[in-house]
């Protein structure tokens, strides 16, 4: 990877961190409601995997911790922030919120709140790719906790059986809300759980974006070559609580400190500095430009955007312009049949 791409990647990760922090502030100001699940600490996973995928071409789907996945997949950050604000200009027109970002123009097929639900949806997207005969693949990001759902096993079975072009990315941050993985998963190494379905799998460091890109690159090549699904597990850690009202009482300060030392932004910045790709001054400039962009473009857009109109409450429930040939009403002559 050349130096300018490396710089871009570092800036992207800084951007994602600051985006999440800024949305936290907006939440505290009550400009954002509902649940808000931040991605801070896990940036290298989505950034690295999607860097080596073909965004806009491949399908991407994930759970509720979805802002960064959506933006890296190609959704405009302004629209994602506007969605958090519940505005009409948001990715989902203010109907979805933080957990339900969608942007089908770049094949980002959504964030979902039901833990484990995206597994089969991803396999379905992959089935469509296969059926159309394109070289697209589907990429499904989910947490470690999701692997305890029936959909995990059911979907892995069918994905393997039908050789679907789907990459399952497990972001193992060791916790499902407050339950540590040893207390919920009989086998804690998640990549081992898929061997029952004859799906190749591997486990990697999720804090080092270079490791992520190399491993994901191989996995994607496998899937794109038509060799069936692949399951890749990245070990990572969320630096904040599960959602907004989480004191992290279930984990030790020691553990948190250890993982903070392995902050993905820090690891990458150090590496680029050592390789003389960036200087401290460059990084300070990046930080400044990121904050400026977030404040003066992204947040401003969200703040100034209009709210959805209450008159449009019932819009989008069903197709708003249905074809009368399929829908009706029943013509007079068709009555008394």
């Amino acid at each position: 990877m050349n130096a300018s791409d490396q710089k871009r990647l570092l800036r992207e990760m800084i951007f994602y961190r600051r985006f999440e922090e800024r949305s936290f502030e907006a939440y505290m100001e009550r400009k954002i409601g509902g649940f808000l699940h931040l991605y801070s600490g896990q940036e290298a996973v989505a950034t690295g995997v999607l860097e080596v995928a073909r965004c806009g071409h491949d399908y991407v789907i994930t759970g509720y911790r979805d802002h960064v996945h959506a933006i890296k997949a190609g959704a405009p950050a302004r629209e994602v922030m506007a969605e958090l604000y519940g505005k009409e200009t948001g990715s989902s027109r203010g109907r979805g919120g933080s957990m339900h970002i969608f942007d089908p123009t770049v094949n980002f097929m959504g964030g979902y709140a039901l833990v484990g639900q995206p597994f089969p949806l991803a396999a379905g997207l992959a089935l469509a790719c296969k059926h159309k005969g394109t070289d697209q693949i589907a990429i499904c990001f989910l947490g470690d906790g999701a692997n305890n759902q029936g959909t995990f096993h059911e979907t892995l079975n069918m994905a393997a059986l039908w050789k679907l072009p789907v990459l399952f990315v497990c972001e193992n941050n060791l916790y499902a809300i407050g339950t540590r993985i040893e207390r919920s998963s009989a086998v804690t190494d998640q990549y081992k759980r898929v061997c029952a379905y004859n799906i190749p799998s591997s486990q990697h460091d999720g804090q080092d974006i270079d490791v992520v890109m190399a491993a994901a690159g191989d996995a994607i090549a496998h899937v794109r070559a038509g060799r069936g699904p692949y399951f890749i597990e990245f070990m990572t850690y969320r630096q904040r609580g599960h959602s907004m009202s989480d004191s992290n009482a279930y984990r030790s300060k020691d553990e948190e400190r250890q993982w903070l030392e392995r902050d993905p932004l820090k690891i990458y910045a150090e590496r680029l500095k050592k390789a003389k790709v960036v200087t401290d001054k460059d990084i300070a400039a990046m930080e400044k430009s990121v904050l400026n962009e977030i404040e003066n473009d992204i947040v401003r857009f969200a703040e100034e955007s209009p709210e959805p109109r209450v008159e449009d409450l019932n819009k989008y429930c069903l197709d708003d312009q249905p074809d009368p040939r399929w829908i009706g009403p029943l013509a007079q002559g068709e009555q008394h049949g």
């Binding site: 399908y59 789907i61 948001g90 990715s91 989902s92 027109r93 203010g94 109907r95 979805g96 339900h100 969608f102 942007d103 089908p104 097929m109 959504g110 979902y112 039901l114 639900q117 597994f119 089969p120 949806l121 991803a122 396999a123 379905g124 997207l125 992959a126 089935l127 469509a128 790719c129 059926h131 159309k132 589907a138 029936g150 959909t151 059911e154 979907t155 079975n157 069918m158 059986l161 039908w162 819009k315 989008y316 429930c317 069903l318 197709d319 708003d320 249905p322 074809d323 009368p324 040939r325 399929w326 829908i327 009706g328 009403p329 029943l330 068709e334 009555q335 008394h336 049949g337």
Partner: protein, 326 residues
């Protein structure tokens, strides 16, 4: 115009839609090599191949989810669930995903799936194979729910459901697959909305859907022999409900009976009575009467089963009651 069986009508709709659009696929348990539990997909595996007529493992929630995911990427899957009782396993992907994705994406992603599944009691299949459950689906925004009463609608509504951009649930009936009826030889679409007056009358409106339309028709014939003119209304769609047709009929007859094979609580009958109250309360000459199943899991024993499920005489008795003849 040929007379064909309900299952043949479904198969013909599949065949035509599969031929019309390569994005149409069918998926479900035993629908391919085995030809379908009710033969509704027989011969299609041989004609369209394993890639389009997909035999699934017994994983209702996830194969429904796979159909939904495929539909989000432009496919038109017809998903068969062997029995509506098993559809309970698919409620997460159906109700939490398919029914909500259009709305929560601000109209940007749609899920044009069709789910076909038989409800209803057959012959002594006992509690875990005899649920009706239409009321559960009809209360979910984001879905369309239709209930074909015979081969014509079974054929024409399936075709419309495949073309329509919304998720459509088609509730069939275990006991109706061999029922025969006329279907035009030329391609025909039947709309997914709109109730239908299937027998014109003036004295009382008998309202049914799917199987219970036939109970209403049988009761109407007996009433005719007694000199009473009953109008029979087939709801056809349980979601959305055609309020206008119900209102117009009740304004004419001033009396209503609602026949459902399901239990009464929070059911089709309660919903239709609410519609009548809201639309034409002052047109009523008598309080509406519901005909419905006993409030128990369906029993195995033949006599108990018969007692649990309404029949045409129950509809007749209800009609006589609203007419003040008992």
């Amino acid at each position: 115009m040929a007379e064909i069986a309900y299952w043949e009508a479904i198969r013909r709709a599949h065949d035509e839609e599969l031929a019309h659009d390569r994005m149409v696929i069918a998926m479900g348990e035993d629908i391919g090599v085995a030809g379908g539990t009710y033969k509704a997909t027989s011969g299609l595996y041989q004609k369209y191949g394993a890639e389009r007529i997909i035999d699934t493992p017994i994983s209702e929630n996830s194969y429904t989810g796979i159909g939904i995911g495929a539909s989000m990427a432009g496919m038109r899957p017809i998903i068969e669930i062997m029995s509506i009782n098993f559809a309970l396993l698919a409620l997460d992907t159906l109700i939490n995903a398919a029914a909500k994705i259009r709305y929560m994406s601000g109209g940007r992603v749609s899920c044009p799936i069709v789910m076909r599944t038989p409800g209803g009691t057959a012959h002594q299949l006992a509690a875990q194979h005899s649920a009706r459950l239409a009321r559960m689906f009809m209360s979910t925004p984001g879905l369309r729910v239709v209930t074909p009463r015979g081969p014509l609608d079974a054929y024409g509504m399936l075709k419309s459901a495949v073309r329509c951009n919304d998720p459509v649930i088609i509730i069939e009936h275990e006991s109706m697959y061999n029922m025969r009826g006329e279907v035009p030889d030329t391609e025909t679409f039947r709309p997914l909305e709109g109730a239908e007056i299937v027998r014109v009358g003036t004295d009382v409106t008998l309202i049914g859907y799917n199987y219970s339309v036939h109970l209403c028709l049988a009761a109407a014939a007996k009433l005719a022999a007694m000199g009473i003119s009953a109008e029979v209304l087939d709801l056809r769609a349980l979601r959305p409900i055609d309020r206008d047709t119900i209102r117009r009929s009740v304004e004419k007859t001033h009396k209503a009976v609602i026949a459902e094979e399901d239990e009464a609580t929070v059911g089709v009958g309660s919903e239709i009575i609410s519609v009548i109250m809201e639309e034409c309360f002052f047109a009523l000459d008598a309080q509406p009467v519901r005909v419905h199943a006993a409030d128990v899991p369906v029993p195995y024993n033949h006599e108990l089963e018969k007692a649990a499920i309404p029949n045409a005489d129950d509809v007749l008795a209800a009609a006589l009651k609203v007419l003040g003849r008992v």
